[in-house]
């Protein structure tokens, strides 16, 4: 099930934010979207998941045309996303947060068979089973990031769009994150993720797409991208990664 973006264009008040993006996200692979701030990465996510209408262009997934559908319909067709600022249900418990993701298509029912099985499975996967009755608002930063991941894994969607899922995570957490992505891939899933931490990008991606000023500046395997000096200068010259890692170019603000 591959995700195909074709000739996407979007402008906001005279500003061409997405300037002709054509992209094939390969099935059962992890594709990372990198690029300087303002390149249009989150906007692309918003377009693909139906939160913003695109001016021109189409989006196809598993052979279906998703252009113009609502976010709910797109989720039903198998694309689920996380948010950069997480957007957890802070007044609900960890378990309830996951339940809401699971129950989406039964939203009108009044009787729920305990979905405990799938909930337990997902929560154990991300290591939050012990905290299942804690309020989401009481979780630590890393725990929140994993809850956001748990939610989207619980939807069962075969294609995940993750917006900075690993930023700020430390060693052990990063390893768990890798594990989760790998398991998901092996289970037949497809991942498109936005990330600024280049270590993570290099380790987890099968393919990297470099977005700059609304268009694809480069795409290739991690080796190809990281050995390209022009990209290194362009990218490192504009921003310091989340880990504070600076590149061969001059340090950024």
């Amino acid at each position: 099930m591959s995700l195909a973006l074709n000739e996407l264009y979007k402008s906001f008040g005279g500003n061409q934010v997405i300037n002709g993006v054509t992209l094939q996200i390969e099935d059962r692979k992890v594709t990372s979207l990198v690029g300087p701030n303002g390149a249009g990465k989150t906007t692309l996510f918003n377009i693909v998941t139906g939160f913003i209408a695109v001016d021109r262009g189409t989006i196809h997934f598993a052979g279906r045309d998703l252009s113009g559908l609502t976010p709910q319909a797109i989720k039903r067709h198998g694309l689920a996303r996380t948010f950069q600022n997480l957007r957890l249900f802070l007044d609900m418990t960890v378990r309830e947060n996951v339940l809401v993701a699971l129950e989406s298509d039964m939203s009108v029912n009044f009787w729920s068979r305990a979905n405990l099985g799938p909930v337990e499975r997902v929560l154990r996967q991300v290591g939050l089973w012990e905290q299942r009755e804690k309020m989401a608002g009481e979780l630590s930063y890393a725990e929140r990031k994993f809850l956001s991941l748990a939610r989207v894994l619980a939807t069962g969607a075969p294609c995940l769009l993750l917006d900075e899922p690993a930023s700020g995570l430390d060693g052990p957490s990063l390893r768990l994150f890798h594990e989760l992505i790998r398991e998901f891939k092996n289970g037949g899933g497809t991942v498109l993720l936005i990330e600024h931490n280049l270590d993570i990008v290099r380790d987890v991606s099968d393919r990297i797409v470099f977005l700059d000023k609304g268009r694809i500046a480069a795409a290739g395997t991690p080796d190809e991208i990281f050995s390209n000096p022009v990209l290194g200068e362009l990218y490192f010259g504009v921003r310091v990664g989340a880990t504070g890692r600076e590149g061969p170019g001059h340090a950024a603000r």
Binding site: F83, L99, V100, S107, T155
Partner: protein
């Protein structure tokens, strides 16, 4: 004295049912409805007409009232829920004003200013309910049914979806929830539950007229939910208790009746302002705040 207390208890029971029904809109679905008296009124009028012309069986009358009111709530909500929050408030008030006028002018259905009188006593399993004590029992049974229904809603996927919607609508949408659909259903449920209160009122007082279903009463119901605490099950009970009992208290303290009305309103108004400033979750959150202080 006993008669007085019985009467107060029945009116309190009806108020609690109404406050709970409004809470489904305000507390669960985040819909700030200042027109709830309309659903109360429609429920009362429909039950009254049914009792007068078809059967005074309580269960039947109430079911018919619930269906009509629920349908009305749904129809009103369809266009009105599409507008933004701020507009909805004003639209609701507007709808209340229009409805009040209809209650007065649609004489054939509502009896106009004079209303409908001579409503026969409620019949339950063939028994006619005459004494206030009987009506109190009936009210309590209805209240019990309502609270069980609400508990079921809160614990259901529907209730969770509503809560998620209140918590973070964008995230809820991303997870597949349909805000409009969810709010429509919540409004229908709230409207139907208000009809229970309306039916109880019509049978107990045995007449209904437009004066009981005005904007003032909608505001009072809203005050009950807000003062008590929206979103919880206990909150509306506290709010209804406060607002029903308070005038009786003022009466007892022999506050002159000419200033009774305004003084009451001033107290409610002040409470709302102070609560919104310092305790926006209502009286019911007092326990939470105290335990937070202790930590």
């Amino acid at each position: 004295m006993l008669a007085y207390l019985l009467n107060l208890a029945i009116l309190l029971g009806i108020a609690v049912i109404l406050a709970w029904s409004l809470n489904v809109l305000i507390g669960f679905a985040g819909i700030f409805s200042v027109m709830h008296a309309v659903f109360y009124g429609v429920g009362a009028y429909v039950a009254a007409q049914f009792a007068l012309h078809v059967s005074s069986d309580f269960v039947l009358s109430t079911m018919v009232a619930m269906i009509v009111t629920g349908a009305l709530a749904f129809l009103v909500a369809v266009p009105v829920l599409r507008v933004r929050e701020e507009y909805f408030v004003v639209a609701a008030i507007g709808f209340q004003m229009v409805a009040s006028t209809i209650f007065i002018t649609w004489e054939s259905a509502t009896g106009g200013m004079g209303g409908l009188t001579g409503i026969p006593p409620a019949k339950v399993f063939g028994f006619e309910l005459i004494s206030p004590a009987a009506y109190l029992v009936l009210t309590l049974v209805c209240a019990l049914i309502c609270v069980l229904a609400l508990l079921a809603v809160v614990r259901s996927p529907f209730g969770r979806a509503l809560k998620a919607l209140r918590d973070d609508e964008t995230a809820a949408i991303a997870l597949g929830k349909h805000p409009v659909k969810l709010r429509l259903i919540a409004t229908t449920i709230g409207g139907a539950m208000a009809a229970i209160g309306g039916s109880l009122y019509a049978f107990y007082v045995s007449f209904v007229n437009p004066e009981s279903f005005t904007l003032d009463y909608s505001v009072l119901l809203m005050a009950m939910v807000i003062i008590g605490g929206a979103g919880s099950l206990l909150g509306p009970v506290l709010g209804a208790l406060f607002i029903t009992v308070f005038p009786a208290l003022l009466n007892f303290l022999q506050v002159p009746s000419s200033v009774l009305g305004p003084v009451q309103q001033i107290v409610y108004g002040m409470m709302i302002v102070l609560l919104m400033l310092f305790m926006p979750e209502g009286l019911v959150s007092a326990g939470k705040l105290i335990s937070r202080r202790r930590k």
